[in-house]
């Protein structure tokens, strides 16, 4: 490897050298080159300065109320999603179970079974109604982007 090629190759390793990402042999090669190359020493120092300054860029902190609101919304919305998922799975399971029982032993259902069926059908109707309303209102809802 001639001097010029070696210089270019070492220069490309400076960033990784700064972050201590090189193997021991590579790092030693860079160190030896740095001892005799002022241009690479300057480049390394400038990269180090860029790294130091970048770490200190002061991005504006969000207002404390916004962070608290974020926490509040998460604690409200996370269980709600879980609740919907459980409700849907429960109703689906109930319907499936009812159908299997009905198909295997066709008979007139008992009173508790009729009550259970009424609850399931009621929940299903409510769910379909809410879903339909959401879908119908969605294109015209001016506030849909506002977080609840």
């Amino acid at each position: 490897m001639n001097g010029e090629t070696s210089h270019a190759a070492i220069e490309r390793m400076l960033s990784a050298y700064l972050d201590e990402q090189l193997t021991q042999a590579e790092a030693q090669r860079v160190q030896l080159h740095l001892e005799e190359c002022a241009s690479c020493r300057t480049a390394l120092e400038q990269m180090r300065e860029i790294q130091r300054l970048t770490a200190q860029i002061p991005f504006r902190r969000p207002p404390e109320e916004a962070l608290e609101a974020l926490e509040g919304r998460l604690s409200v919305r996370a269980p709600r999603r879980g609740g919907w998922a459980l409700l849907i799975m429960g109703v689906a399971g109930w319907i499936l179970y009812g159908l299997i029982v009905l198909l295997r032993h066709p008979r007139w259902p008992s009173v508790p079974e009729l009550i259970a069926a009424a609850v399931v059908i009621g929940l299903l109707l409510l769910f379909v109604s809410v879903l339909r309303q959401r879908l119908l209102e969605r294109p015209h809802d001016r506030y849909r982007k506002i977080k609840r």
């Binding site: 960033s15 990784a16 700064l18 300054l53 770490a55 860029i57 002061p58 504006r60 974020l70």
Partner: protein, 179 residues
């Protein structure tokens, strides 16, 4: 920014909600700042942070425990930010924090120079190609390791290394008279 705290090992794995709440408290600002750096708009950044933690929570109990939390969180924030950028079709530049109180030992003139240099640096970082900018910020501002950056951005270690080198070289060129 301070180094990323080690995963919350003290909280029992049998208390997933407590563990998640602890990680939310630790990482919410990091998620917010990363979204802000990508999007430039504080309201969008808050929206993305909220959606990111909702998604993380949804997969929390069934997550791969061998995977560290930080790269996972950063990748979710990144994907949501990219989606939002596509919808917005343009990226804003966020404003930096107002100048802090001047320390007596530094002096107002030196502080002003430092401030100018920081602002100039941020302008130049903002001009970098997207792929280089995110790798640079994840490494030098958020303090992620190369492996964590590779996982968060879905790239290889070699790509991370090469993008970092290109970003730093470009910044060095553009800030030649200032460093």
């Amino acid at each position: 920014m301070a180094a990323i705290p080690v995963a919350v090992a003290q909280v029992s794995r049998f208390e997933p909600e407590a563990e998640f709440a602890e990680l939310f408290a630790q990482y919410r600002l990091r998620a917010y700042y990363y979204a802000l750096q990508m999007l430039g708009n504080p309201d969008d950044a808050l929206e993305v942070t909220q959606e990111a933690f909702l998604r993380l929570h949804r997969h929390w109990v069934r997550r791969d425990r061998s995977r560290p939390f930080a790269p996972w969180m950063y990748s979710v924030v990144r994907n949501l930010s990219i989606d939002l950028l596509r919808k917005r079709a343009c990226r804003q530049e966020c404003e930096l924090e107002a100048a802090p109180e001047v320390a007596p030992e530094v002096g107002p003139e030196r502080e002003s120079q430092r401030r100018q240099l920081t602002e100039r640096l941020w302008r130049e970082i903002a001009r970098l190609p997207e792929a280089q900018r995110e790798v640079l910020l994840l490494r030098d501002w958020h303090g992620l390791s190369y492996a964590e950056i590779a996982e968060a951005t879905g790239t290889s270690l070699t790509t991370v290394n090469s993008r970092l080198h290109d970003a730093r070289s470009r910044l060095r060129e553009r800030l030649r008279g200032y460093l």
